[in-house]
Point group: C2
Chain length 356, copies 2
């Protein structure tokens, strides 16, 4: 089995290296090959998603991704900026289902800005559609405003759109995931304003007919943002579109106060996937050896589970991460009084040791 390793920018290389180390320590052999992506792709090959990188990702059974983005690429034209690599990979690999668990480890409850009773034991799964919506819809651009009080001026515009099949397949992912958890799905939309999301609501309701054992509730996105702050533990699985999912999944991650712990998976129709930490490239701490590698290590575990069919190995990693937390080891982002501060490599080594 072949894994494409795309370290990227900022802390990407450091944290990915720890996940690779953990993968090497398992009793399985994986073929791993690295390639440049993001700013590193642009610097070496003139494009954030160089053709060779895309080819490697396509040929591999799974992609382990670090993070992209760095100040020095901020002034490039949009088509060459690091984040275009992520958008390109999602689209080219057909990674339409983004799974982002927001879990609060009991040991880290203090890290949250929310009161412990509101978030302790938090375990929700946000499923974000990832290849449709206003992210990719055309037409889009800057044009002369054709009508209304501002006719004749310049205007920016984009197209939001969701086809029936796109909604159906992500709804199936959500209902199936819910069956393995709390059997409740909250579909988040803005059906009271948007045609796209009234249509979304109708199609999700239709798909639900095949899953009568799962409870379905519809919620407006503004209310969902409020309920995430008010009573996040009431959710089980949240399914939503690309744009709303971008906002809500980051808000949910931040509820835990430990975004350095949260993995993500982006899957295609055949469970091939791209795995990456939920956090960004944090260029301000890059190279200092203090970044938290656990989200990337847990992303590798998700990869073993979903794309490589190695559930036992995935569980070994998950358990090892729980062990190092129980041992009191903490990178600076999650450090508290009474725990032991460690660096990126030490944390990676500790997980390897804890594999047992």
């Amino acid at each position: 089995m072949k894994i494409a390793i795309l370290p990227g920018d900022g802390i990407g290389p450091e944290i990915t290296a720890q996940a690779v180390k953990v993968l090497h320590a398992l009793d399985e052999r994986f073929e791993m090959e690295s390639a440049d992506v993001g700013g590193a792709g642009y610097a070496a090959h003139g494009h954030p998603l160089p053709p060779a990188t895309l080819a490697l990702a396509k040929a591999a059974d799974a992609v382990l991704f670090g993070a992209v983005g760095d100040y020095r690429y901020d002034t490039l034209e949009r088509a060459l900026r690091p984040e275009q690599a992520i958008l390109g990979l999602r689209k080219e690999l057909g990674l339409f289902a983004n799974l982002r668990p927001a879990i609060l480890y009991p040991e880290l409850a203090g890290a949250s800005t929310l009161k412990p009773e509101v978030v302790s034991g938090l375990d929700i799964l946000i499923i974000r559609e990832l290849t449709g919506d206003i992210y990719f819809g055309k037409p889009r651009g800057v044009r002369t405003c054709p009508d209304g009080p501002f006719a004749g001026q310049r205007e920016g515009f984009d197209t939001m759109r969701y086809a029936e099949g796109e909604i159906r397949r992500i709804a199936h992912v959500a209902f199936q995931a819910a069956r393995k958890r709390g059997s409740r799905v909250t579909s988040v939309d803005k059906a009271n304003v948007l045609e796209t999301f009234q249509f979304w609501r109708d199609v999700v309701t239709e798909v639900h007919e095949d899953y009568q054992d799962v409870e379905l509730e519809h919620m407006y996105v503004d209310n969902a943002a409020m309920q995430l702050v008010r009573a996040p533990k009431k959710f089980d699985v949240i399914v939503t579109g690309n744009m709303f999912g971008d906002i809500l999944s980051d808000a949910a991650a931040m509820l835990t106060g430990s975004i350095g712990m949260l993995p993500s998976a982006s899957l295609d129709a055949n469970n091939k996937g791209l795995y990456e930490p939920s956090h960004g490239s944090a260029p301000d701490i890059a190279g200092k050896g203090i970044a938290n590698p656990l989200a990337t290590i847990l992303s590798a575990a998700m990869m073993l589970r979903f794309s490589l069919g190695k559930v036992e190995q995935a569980e070994r990693i998950d358990t090892a991460v729980k062990r190092v937390l129980a041992q009191g080891l903490r990178t600076p982002d999650i450090h508290e009084e009474g725990t032991t501060r460690v660096g990126t490599e030490e944390m990676g080594d500790a997980v390897v040791k804890a594999l047992g």
Copy 2:
């Protein structure tokens, strides 16, 4: 001066009645006239925004609005549902600037789900553009998908758009508001993905040239959602589009834990405005006499300040509300041990008394 009173549905009539009582208790005479809106408009006249209601709102110097929406109208076709009244009033009256303060009264810090040190003293102002964006952009609808892998299927679609003049005028509102506060503006966009919001960022940056005394920062909407949870007090004024503003302003309101306290103003180019509480119609508690009228009373104060030029009277109301909180009076939504539970009318009466 003429005020249109639109009580609406659910708790709308109860809370509006308290604000009217407070207005009557001032040493100013206002002409007030009521009309049906929302579900009440539909029930009485077959439309959520009956022509007579719209005419009254247009003729008045300001509109005091309760809330709309009730379960029994949920199954109506979209064009007849209560919330269409809000959208119609915004568009017809040209209310492009929505001002939503998120303030945490020191006495109510315990009501927040966030830790006191994270939110105590919170005082941010969210300025949401209210008549543009994907809320009103055309074309929109359900059609046959014209291209791509889902061609031939049904698809829902909407158009996001912002013209230069629309962005300019809301940016001016934000910079001018910031000058009266902390002189910092965070413009929230999604310039890394959306053409509309790259354009938004460019125009806001241009307008900023006239306000060199105000600090401007740009932030992606997903990051803004995270920072609101992580460190909300770092913001001063947030300015954003209609869709992102819908989500972020509700999230910010919920941070306070006391959304029953938060007023809002929606202004046109001449400071004519519609004033309403930030919360909804809460049909589950309607008619029980337990709804919190303070957000509506504070909305009336905003109306006196922004549209009617009665700053002193506005301050009297604001002070009276602080007094009743200091006296320990609380409606059930903000009640805590050691305070005195009161109903909607008692709270209104207490504010009248506290006007001094």
